[in-house]
């Protein structure tokens, strides 16, 4: 009976993993099947042309801009907020409120973020439709993801590390950046990778704040079009699935590159830890 239950559960584990991988392969396969035909040097590095047949280089640049700016703002704020919640705050009402707020932010549809960003950053703060307005909106979107994942990984840092460091006359701050954050790094990193995914995959919040201008942005105050917005527009208006999928391929490559470098960096950082 126990063996049966074990085997059943084991079977379910394998089945789930199989399903997840199958879905992964199907989606990636679908995107490559549909889009591979369009991929060429000209497509990736060429300038956009409204007549068709142009490239997507401006969108690639814009996408990289939004990723970098959003992360530069969101990562430190998110990590520090999590640090406050887990390491500094007394576990009371304030913390509960902050937690609840963070959690609720994760469930808000991106279109609402987009509308909010359009009113707050674009109009009220007079940033105009621009990469920076979109990046700030994206910052709000990924903040909860970073806070939550960082908090979780802080929880896994043994209390004995904190005690050991404090007992050596180190301040909380020193303890934080010398011991706690390095040990929590893998978890934080997976949060950042998830955030990159969210940023890259976002469309509604971006086209309402950065717009859809299909030209090379001159600065972060320019209105511009990201890859995802591009694939959204071509799907929605032209129904051009091949083009959308080709953009998807480029995105997959970008994400892969980012993930690999993130993992590589964390390995470098944690050499002593992992060895």
């Amino acid at each position: 009976m126990r063996d049966f239950k074990d085997n059943l559960l084991r079977g379910l584990l394998w089945l789930s993993a199989f399903l997840s991988v199958a879905v992964l392969l199907m989606i990636v396969g679908f995107i490559f099947y549909k889009g591979m035909g369009l991929i060429s040097f000209e497509f990736i590095f060429g300038d956009y042309s409204p007549e068709g047949g142009g490239g997507i280089w401006p969108m690639i640049v814009t996408t990289v801009y939004t990723i970098v700016i959003s992360l530069i703002i969101a990562t430190p704020i998110g990590i520090l907020a999590a640090v406050y919640l887990h390491e500094y705050a007394k576990q009371g009402r304030l913390v509960r409120i902050i937690r609840f707020a963070t959690e609720s932010l994760t469930g808000i549809p991106s279109i609402i973020y987009g509308l909010f960003g359009a009113v707050f950053f674009v109009t009220t703060l007079k940033l105009g439709m621009s990469i920076i307005a979109a990046s700030l909106t994206l910052t709000i979107i990924v903040l909860p993801v970073i806070i939550r994942t960082t908090e979780e990984s802080l929880k896994t840092v043994p209390a004995s590390y904190r005690e050991g460091s404090l007992a050596l006359g180190n301040t909380k701050l020193q303890t934080l950046y010398k011991v706690i954050l390095p040990s929590a790094m893998p978890g934080i990193l997976s949060g950042i990778i998830l955030s990159i995914g969210r940023i890259v995959g976002e469309s509604a919040a971006i086209f309402l704040t950065a717009g859809t201008v299909a030209a090379m942005p001159e600065s972060i105050f320019s209105s511009a079009r990201t890859l995802t917005v591009h694939s959204y527009l071509v799907t929605q208006e032209a129904g051009d699935i091949e083009l959308a999928a080709a953009v998807g391929i480029v995105l997959i490559v970008i994400i892969l590159a980012i993930n690999f470098s993130a993992t590589y960096i964390s390995k470098k950082l944690n050499k002593a830890t992992n060895k």
């Binding site: 007992a167 050596l168 002593a272």
Partner: protein, 280 residues
């Protein structure tokens, strides 16, 4: 407990004097009160763990804390460097004066902790290299010079009787060491801070006899410079290395006296019961 075991414990305890004699520490003059604890009460939330503890700990002596499991030895030890501050629910009343300063009214807890080092019950090395673990404290104090750090690391590791075992792998992770090795690196890490007072919470409970003896020898040497407070379950260890011994029971100090007196002529019946194994 059966008779045989009781007698056996007595045997163990008798052995004190011998150990004491051998460890060459009998004729040292009495130090001054380095640490004065007055009427200390400690609560974990509602639950009181220490009840009116008062005792003076002498400078450059070894003070041992003994008592059954759960009696509050670790808790008491951790009040001396304010390690209990980390637990939100802890409430403390009473005074602890170290170097003529009330550590709970003075706010410089960093200075306190650089002056009062600690070695914990379970080894708690950081997930970094052995070298970095030992250099951790000095670096926190702003020592950056590589030569100086090298020197401190080597001295401290030698001091903790582990240098030979790790000298070729200083740059590898400290977590790859065995439990015993880890604990000795923890001791090295504490020594590296050159503190005034060193608190040790069963520092040798994970060590083999050889390392234990080395550490005991080390403690004996260290008291030339440091004031040492040690929690131990090993009564022979207390007898061998300590000058004074405090017997804790249910959060109270039942008896505090010269180690010799505690083991040979305890005043309190409960102390006698405990050290002769008649207790519980």
């Amino acid at each position: 407990m059966n008779r045989a075991l009781k007698e056996h414990t007595k045997e163990l305890v008798k052995q004190n004097e011998t150990g004491k004699g051998i460890s060459e520490m009998a004729q040292r003059g009495k130090g001054n009160a380095k640490i004065k604890v007055k009427d200390l009460n400690l609560f974990y939330g509602e639950k009181q763990a220490l009840f009116g503890v008062s005792l003076d700990i002498n400078e450059k002596e070894v003070t041992a804390l003994i008592g059954p499991s759960g009696c509050g030895k670790s808790t008491f030890l951790r009040t001396l460097n304010r390690m209990n501050d980390l637990i939100d629910s802890v409430k403390i009343t009473g005074d602890i004066i170290i170097n003529d300063e009330n550590i709970y009214t003075s706010s410089d807890v960093i200075k306190l902790r650089t002056k009062v080092g600690m070695v914990f019950q379970k080894p708690n090395l950081f997930p970094m290299s052995i070298y970095d673990n030992v250099a951790y404290g000095p670096r926190g104090q702003g020592i950056k010079n590589k030569k100086e750090l090298d020197k401190i690391v080597e001295e401290s590791l030698r001091g903790a009787a582990i240098w030979d075992e790790v000298k070729d792998r200083l740059k590898t992770s400290a977590l790859g060491l065995s439990g015993g090795q880890q604990q000795r690196v923890c001791i090295a890490r504490a020594i590296a801070m050159k503190p005034d007072v060193i608190l040790m919470d069963e520092p040798t409970s994970a060590l083999d006899p050889i390392s234990t003896l080395k550490v005991e020898e080390l403690i004996t040497q260290m008291k030339e410079d440091f004031t040492i407070v040690i929690v131990t379950h090993n009564m022979q260890q207390a007898a061998r290395i300590s000058d004074k011994t405090a017997f804790f029971l249910n959060g109270e100090v039942v008896e505090y006296d010269e180690t010799d007196n505690i083991f040979s002529t305890p005043k309190d019946q409960r102390t006698e019961d405990y050290v002769t194994g008649r207790f519980g």
